[in-house]
């Protein structure tokens, strides 16, 4: 029993300690606070009946998007390197080791190929639980290689972003990944191949200011925080509160930066329509 109860999540809550997907028999929705059977949450692709989208990771998106859950993962050999010997409150290499152990992930992105509604696709998906989904050299290189794979197979690329931005511990190297990924997407564009960007909660900083905003189609999940500067920085700059719904998907679509907001429960069907439009007619028949 404590005297004071924290009503809002504090900014000091460590990111990696936040629970992102429910486990156990019952799940309490972070938005509507109702307890729902985990089984039901899972069946609705981790979307609560109130519409809240849980922050799921790459494995669940791959299961959701690829036909029969069949896919091949690529470039999983790429590992982050502490090239600057960066140390803040913790050494970067130690942070990497601890995060790998805790999450079972190698970095903040996984790339896989397979079929969606019969059409070949490469999906690069970010994992927020790996150091806030931050973009470092590995994320940049995986996107570069994913583009090369698309060029080789003449197929579509989908990048699912969920990231706080560039990874500070890789300093200028992570900044340069913005240039690198944009340059590679330019190659894909020149080859006339489809690129769809799906932004999920959150997509900010260097990720939104590079590949996430460069889709032939920019899509987003409902109520995702999407922006260049984070809300806290903006609040400190302008010294007043931000309007309700600012920098959310519904705000961005009104301002003209998104093509469509898609509920995860309809993601696959919707994606299939985009692919159908973008692919030459023959591509499904030959599969």
């Amino acid at each position: 029993m404590t005297w004071l109860q924290r009503i809002k999540d504090g900014i000091l809550t460590k990111t990696i300690e936040k629970k992102e997907t429910p486990d156990g028999l019952w799940a309490k929705c972070p938005s509507c606070k109702k307890a729902v059977q985990t089984k039901i949450v899972v069946e609705s692709n981790y979307v609560c009946s109130c519409g809240y989208h849980y922050r799921i990771g790459s494995d669940l998106y791959f299961d959701l998007l690829f036909d029969n859950g069949q896919f091949e993962e690529h470039f999983s050999h790429l590992k982050a390197r502490d090239v600057l010997s960066f140390t803040d409150l913790k050494a970067y290499h130690a942070r990497l080791d601890a995060t790998r152990k805790k999450t079972g992930l190698d970095d903040a992105m996984k790339v896989a190929s397979g079929k969606t509604d019969g059409r070949p696709i490469v999906v690069a998906c970010m994992d927020f639980k790996f150091i806030g989904g931050s973009m470092g050299s590995v994320v940049g290189e995986k996107i570069a290689k994913a583009v090369d794979l698309c060029l080789e197979r003449k197929c579509a690329l989908l990048i699912i972003s969920r990231s706080g931005g560039a990874r500070m511990m890789e300093a200028a190297f992570s900044l340069m990944q913005m240039a690198k990924t944009a340059a590679k997407l330019g190659q894909l564009d020149r080859a006339g191949l489809p690129y769809i960007s799906l932004m999920t909660d959150p997509t900010t900083g260097g990720v939104s200011a590079s590949y996430a905003m460069l889709g032939d189609f920019n899509l987003a999940e409902p109520n995702a925080l999407i922006g260049f500067a984070g809300p806290r920085v903006i609040r400190e700059t302008i010294k007043r509160d931000l309007p309700e719904g600012f920098q959310r998907s519904e705000f961005l679509i009104e301002k003209g930066f998104l093509d469509k907001i898609i509920d995860r429960r309809e993601l696959k069907e919707s994606l299939a329509l985009f692919l159908e439009f973008m692919y030459p007619n023959a591509s499904k028949a030959t599969t």
Binding site: D88, S137, A179, A183, F228, V233, K255
Partner: protein, 315 residues
């Protein structure tokens, strides 16, 4: 003269000289020997300070209030500079200037961040923090340069893209992202020179090129040392440490292969001999342009993409 905190010994010596001169005038005594000896002390004190500059001190130099900005350099190195305005969509950003001009008879397009030189003009230039229309103006000028086959020269000096409400509404992220993809594909040479602060996406938004040069006392990083301190150390007090950890100086960047050349500054910083700095910059633009003009547009784009594709540190 404005002295930075680490230049205090030098500032003190200058003050002593001033006092001596006042005394000399009042009492009519000859102080030239003492002045000469103090000047020698200044020289050796400065030499010592500048030979062991920390990363944070370089950051301070890059922000020196007397440091020359884009328009100063353009005035010095350019014939007939004609400033051009507007993004044709929303407005004319004052934090990014653009226009065409000639260097030794050769036309090119110039784009650069611009800071103000006094309280009023600093506000007018939004402290060198562009809004989306700044990046869109820059892009418009680059496309014009491409159409008329003229090289592009970008001067980078920003504490960051403006993190404001309006900037977000008008798509700061999209504006920067668009510039990156377009600059990577532009069919004319692009030379970028970091003349002051190279803060994150705000710098990179006009900073992708065939050659990236950094003046000696500048920095380039994914985040400013202050913000990095506040996020990773949860306090504003670790900016010096953050600067060390971020390894953000010209020397660091050259070592990582992220920039192509360090441009030497006058002994005590660009602001102490701005004209000399301008001439050095001019010489370097000409040198790099000469090399780049031997390449076809296809080769140029291919090499540029290759260059950026190869940046990364992973196992």
């Amino acid at each position: 003269m404005v002295f930075l905190d680490f230049e205090k010994p030098v500032a003190d010596l200058y003050e002593q000289i001033e006092k001596l001169q006042v005394l000399a005038e009042r009492k009519g005594v000859d102080v030239s020997d003492q002045v000469k000896s103090l000047e020698e002390q200044i020289e050796s004190s400065r030499t010592k300070i500048y030979s062991e500059l920390t990363r944070w001190q370089r950051v301070q130099l890059s922000r020196h209030p007397e440091r020359p900005y884009t328009l100063y350099y353009l005035d010095q190195i350019c014939e007939d500079f004609t400033e051009l305005h507007g993004d044709r969509r929303y407005g004319d950003d004052k934090a990014i200037v653009a226009g065409f001009g000639k260097i030794d008879g050769e036309s090119m397009m110039f784009i650069g961040h611009q800071k103000g030189t006094d309280a009023k003009s600093r506000q007018y230039r939004n402290f060198g923090m562009p809004n989306p229309e700044g990046y869109r103006k820059a892009l418009r000028m680059m496309k014009i340069a491409e159409k008329f086959n003229k090289p592009v020269v970008c001067f980078i000096d920003t504490p960051g893209a403006y993190p404001g409400l309006d900037a977000e509404e008008r798509g700061q992220a999209e504006a920067i992202a668009r510039n990156l993809i377009e600059m990577s594909q532009l069919r004319v040479p692009i030379i970028c020179i970091i003349i002051g602060e190279g803060a994150s996406g705000g710098a990179l938004g006009i900073g992708l090129g065939d050659r990236v040069l950094m003046l000696q006392n500048t920095w380039y990083s994914v985040i400013s040392p202050e913000s990095c301190s506040s996020i990773l150390w949860r306090s504003w007090d670790f900016k010096e440490t953050a600067a060390e950890q971020l390894k953000l100086t010209a020397e660091d960047m050259k070592g990582f292969g992220i920039v192509d050349q360090i441009v030497k500054e006058p002994s005590w910083g660009a602001h102490t001999e701005p004209l000399k700095m301008a001439q050095t910059i001019k010489r370097n633009i000409k040198k790099h342009l000469k090399e780049l003009q031997t390449l076809s547009p296809e080769e140029l784009v291919e090499k540029r993409i290759e260059k950026y594709s190869s940046i990364g540190a992973y196992a």
